[in-house]
């Protein structure tokens, strides 16, 4: 009972904080402390959001497609790289530093290059999403594979399991929690990655729409897109969390027991 109450407080607290921030924002705008052309009032943003909603949805379809394709390819890519690096120590030694290094390259800097190489269609956007999302997943998988207990591998050997069996019976399930930890980060990167790529050239998508309304100085619409992007990113993370729950039923049971 007490626990339930605590849970509710946890959920109410961030909502209250959000309400306070929006309240201040409203006060600052309506009191004309900041001019309306610089910061649109939450009311205007809300109106823009509602009016533009159908348009936002059409653009979101494109962006979501890019993000999801990118994320899926990123997962596949991460899985292959991590498996190979786990299997061959020299690949791990050779590529781990390079992987880390690859993440220091600013996304915004390579996006225009990708557009030049691949054109204005979906390809450069998906590629950018792959580049931004595969890293956290790869690291998650690698850490997961490395966390396997040596005695468990020996146990498998004592049962005459081959490498492949040890891999899918022990290593993959053991790596799942850290894989999902990485995937959650990647999911939040995916939408943003696609949007950034769209800024630099394209015909449709939330990023394209964003540059358009920016050029029109329609700040209320701009804010509406930003909020919309936040919402779909959150939904994507929630989706990952849901899949995670379904993929690891043993954790759910254990938690129930502890509670």
């Amino acid at each position: 009972m007490k626990r339930k109450l605590q849970n509710t407080t946890y959920k109410v607290a961030p909502l209250l904080a959000l309400a306070v921030i929006v309240g201040i924002w409203l006060f600052v705008c309506e009191g004309e402390i900041v001019p309306a052309f610089m910061l649109p009032s939450p009311v205007d943003v809300f109106t823009a959001f509602v009016n533009d909603f159908p348009l936002l949805l059409t653009h979101a379809q494109i962006t979501l497609q890019e993000a999801l394709y990118g994320l899926l390819i990123g997962i596949a890519f991460a899985f292959i790289i991590a498996s190979l690096m786990d299997r061959f120590q020299f690949l791990y030694n050779a590529f781990y530093p390079l992987l880390v290094l690859s993440q220091t390259i600013p996304t915004v800097a390579i996006a225009p290059l990708l557009v030049l190489w691949m054109g204005f269609e979906m390809a450069p956007k998906i590629t950018l999403v792959v580049i931004t999302t595969f890293f956290p997943i790869t690291i998650g998988l690698l850490d997961g594979f490395k966390s396997v207990d040596k005695d468990q591998v020996n146990l498998m050997r004592s049962m005459k399991a081959n490498r492949f069996q040890t891999f899918y019976i022990v290593k993959i399930p053991t790596a799942l929690p850290s894989f999902f930890a990485g995937l959650k980060i990647s999911a939040s990167y995916a939408i943003v990655g696609a949007v950034i790529a769209e800024w630099l050239g394209g015909f449709e998508g939330l990023g394209v729409y964003m540059t358009r309304v920016k050029k029109a100085y329609a700040f209320d619409k701009m804010f509406a897109v930003i909020i919309f992007i936040c919402i779909i990113s959150l939904l994507l993370i929630l989706l990952v969390a849901l899949i995670q729950r379904l993929a690891m039923p043993w954790l759910r049971r254990t938690k129930q027991k502890i509670n």
Partner: protein
């Protein structure tokens, strides 16, 4: 010829000899304890017998076949139960069958048939974290049994349990062994446990580790925990303590 023979096994790490010229044998259906103080090379010997590591010299012979350095013939169980948290108990127990290519359904059926005998009835679909330490060790022993081709190595299987659970596990273990007749090499540092459970006790001591003594526990089976309260048990205990102190 014995069922399992360990002949002149020597193993070193980093130029340090851990065990030297270890000889022992195990008959069919026998429970033999290997009693050793810490640092006597129990685990090294254990890995060599199970085939996880290859000894520098010497041979492991099971049922007339040389299995030195070849894992897969001798199953083992550790102090850690090593049940995979992500597999249901029945799938954990059936793992050796699954690995050898039996279908999931068939493996579950075969494993499930033994649950009652091992006192595990009803836990099939639970996850390991939902079970107590004693129950988990039961499941681990059942897995070891299903993995075995006649010989099991148990490395301090009950030493992580609390005294009361341990005592009830001893009773359970004596009962179950009467039924399944699994030839067992039982590694322990607990003298009482060794006397209570075994037909024979080897004492492993010295640096490098070697078998320094062999004691036959001549007490009929099935035994009960009450054996530990008899005069005879104390005599054995005195004998073992003396032999360990002497070396």
């Amino acid at each position: 010829m014995s069922f399992l023979e360990v002949k002149n096994v020597t193993k070193s790490f980093d130029n340090k000899t851990i065990i030297k010229d270890v000889n022992l044998h195990l008959e069919k259906g026998e429970i033999v304890s290997l009693l050793g103080i810490s640092g006597s090379g129990k685990t090294t010997l254990f890995n060599a017998i199970s085939g996880i590591s290859t000894p520098d010299s010497g041979k492991i012979i099971l049922d007339g076949k040389d299995i030195t350095g070849k894992p897969g013939s001798i199953s083992y169980m550790l102090q850690k139960d090593m049940l995979f948290p992500f597999r249901k108990i029945v799938d954990n127990v059936a793992l050796p069958l699954t690995v050898s290519g039996v279908s999931k359904k068939e493996a579950r059926k075969k494993a499930s048939a033994l649950f009652e005998e091992f006192g595990l009835e009803g836990t099939q679909m639970q996850y390991p974290d939902e079970l107590s330490g004693g129950m988990r060790q039961r499941a681990a022993l059942l897995r070891t049994y299903l993995a075995s081709k006649g010989v099991a190595l148990l490395d301090e299987p009950f030493s992580a349990l609390d005294t009361i659970t341990k005592s009830s596990m001893h009773k359970w273990y004596l009962d179950i062994m009467e039924k399944i007749k699994l030839s067992t090499l039982f590694i322990t540092h607990d003298i009482d446990e060794a006397i209570l459970l075994s037909d024979r006790i080897y004492i492993l001591s010295g640096v490098p580790g070697n078998i320094t003594d062999e004691i036959v526990i001549d007490e009929k089976k099935p035994r009960s925990n009450d054996f530990a309260l008899t005069e005879k048990f104390l005599e054995y205990k005195k004998l073992v303590v003396e032999k360990i102190a002497f070396t």
